[in-house]
Symmetry: D2
Subunit: 189 residues, 4 copies
């Protein structure tokens, strides 16, 4: 989960069906306190010719308090949007329009990350809301550039993303999630 307020821009500018009449800020706050929201988490990777993961892309962001954190591509699934279209949209939003992501052919995620507003129930935490996130490993072939609120995009080896140093720079359980992804691709350090 990012620390930025991802909710309203999504709805105002990107609603795929162009509907008006979105919930008011008060209604959004009410929904967030009453319903789990559907998210996707994408772990962008570079693979070699045999499909083996050689590096993982992590976004560098400044938190509201000024510290630096590393983050996965993540975001909400909108009304009437397919999960695979949400993945594509958020990857383009974070890595740019020519990342050439290979969205998996199967909808089966490698895990479901349950971000609770209360810490400690699962490894995942989101102080704003209860988010249930479908997590996918997504190879990207094209040119990736950090967009908008990301300061940088770093390509790290599987060993590096599992290292204590990088893990300490990830928040809300995304460090655990990227290690789960490395386990899934057989590259857990």
């Amino acid at each position: 989960m990012t620390d930025t307020a991802e909710f309203p821009p999504d709805d105002e500018h990107e609603h795929p069906t162009g509907q008006t009449g979105w919930l008011s800020p008060e209604e959004i706050a009410a929904v967030r306190a009453q319903l789990p929201l559907v998210y996707v988490d994408a772990v962008p990777v570079r693979v070699d010719d045999s499909g083996d993961v050689v590096s993982v892309g992590l976004l560098l962001r400044a938190s509201p308090l000024g510290s630096m954190t590393r983050a996965l591509v993540t975001g909400r699934v909108l009304y009437h949007e397919r999960v695979r279209d949400a993945l594509l949209r958020h990857i383009e939003k974070d890595l740019g329009p020519v990342a050439l992501p290979q969205v998996p052919a199967s909808p089966q995620p490698f895990t479901v990350a349950e971000y609770f507003p209360t810490p400690g129930i699962t490894p995942f935490h989101d102080p704003r809301q209860h988010a249930i996130s479908l997590a996918y490993v997504v190879p990207v072939n094209g040119d990736c550039r950090p967009q908008q609120n990301a300061l940088d995009l770093a390509w790290l080896t599987p060993e590096e993303v599992c290292s204590d140093t990088v893990q300490a720079e990830m928040v809300n359980g995304q460090g655990a999630l990227v290690r789960q992804a490395m386990a899934y691709v057989g590259r857990l350090d």
Copy 2:
């Protein structure tokens, strides 16, 4: 998805954190038209000693129009509820308190069923809402009895649930979902 109005009872009677102040009916209608909701689908099965599926439990329900349909265990994930607790709760709701379900150790679903209000986008359809459902095969060992709005619970072989006759009795794409489940357990007819 069931044809019964599952939404309000869930919230009024079963909210796990005991919160009051749930959304009003108008707000529920607004949410349903604006956000995808998180569901679980459980395919209850009987397995033999080696874990091989021998039968599948389907609920028999009367639709509002009086026709008979067969359905899986399904229902919404509530705010602050873990996916595995939602699975348990809905299995108990539909199969009774002594079904002894073996909820999978892994949160990885065998598929994600995307029920759209518009038919034809995916194999799954829910005229009331956009529901994103995490689907699991759940072995049950105990005594199962249909509850409340189900007329019967039938245990059918994998071949029977994939037959044209039974498939024709399932609605909203659940026929496809149960065949996906049989494919996952290696028992697709």
Copy 3:
């Protein structure tokens, strides 16, 4: 499993470590009667920009008895060969050198097909041997041409490969396997 004698050519011509001293024909026959062999099955697919499967590639082969059968890409994993390298090798062998396959980043297969020499134990059958096959869906982006003993390569829609007509042209349980693959990618008819 193909009807062609895939075993010796693999070993004589393609052994990845260049070892000599391979088993004699008598020893091969003995091994085949005593040990399960490791295979891979690849379901070659074309996907759209969002990763959704649009067509499936099936090879057309003439059986020894002269009938036509449709088949997946399949073959043995060699000594000291990684599963992902075996996938690449067999895809190149059957679809040519510029198919540009996207071998999955994860070693988790969508299923394990157990081909028994005795029919009826599983949906899969191989009269020659007991083969345990790791099955993967593999998107291919490049130009595919049938090689050597295949007469043609046909790209069929998910609906077509699940149709009775095409299913009747597949042998040894590969019809069931391709339907399992379509279930896995959410495209089971």
Copy 4:
């Protein structure tokens, strides 16, 4: 992989089809140098009522050199044996006849561990042979007792099995495999 010579006893005493005429020791050595063998790895776990993993069972063995190692349940798949029957057989062999394992309904393993005789190709290593192992998490409900060549069976928490201390007691990559299993069940420390 265990350090004990698991190959001949399997074949002499437990061959499921009762066939005689097994390969001679020389032939076994030849096969091991020429073909990958099919194995299963089982991660025995205790789960709570909601399916969440609470502990992992590790066998304590003395290596030929006298050091103590912790190991998973592992062993070969025999000719004409189903993978799920091999899992059951090896769990009974290592945990006793009343462990009451819940073999997964699906043949899809959580990963495929490729044990190479050469270290460094994958995280897995078996100096004796090239083994391709299908890995499953298997909840056990019954009474488990270490059998034959195991000195003890310890039930450790997910955090403990991922700790440096326990990881250092596991060999041939099984430490990585048990962490992959914990990632799969959402309990990676």
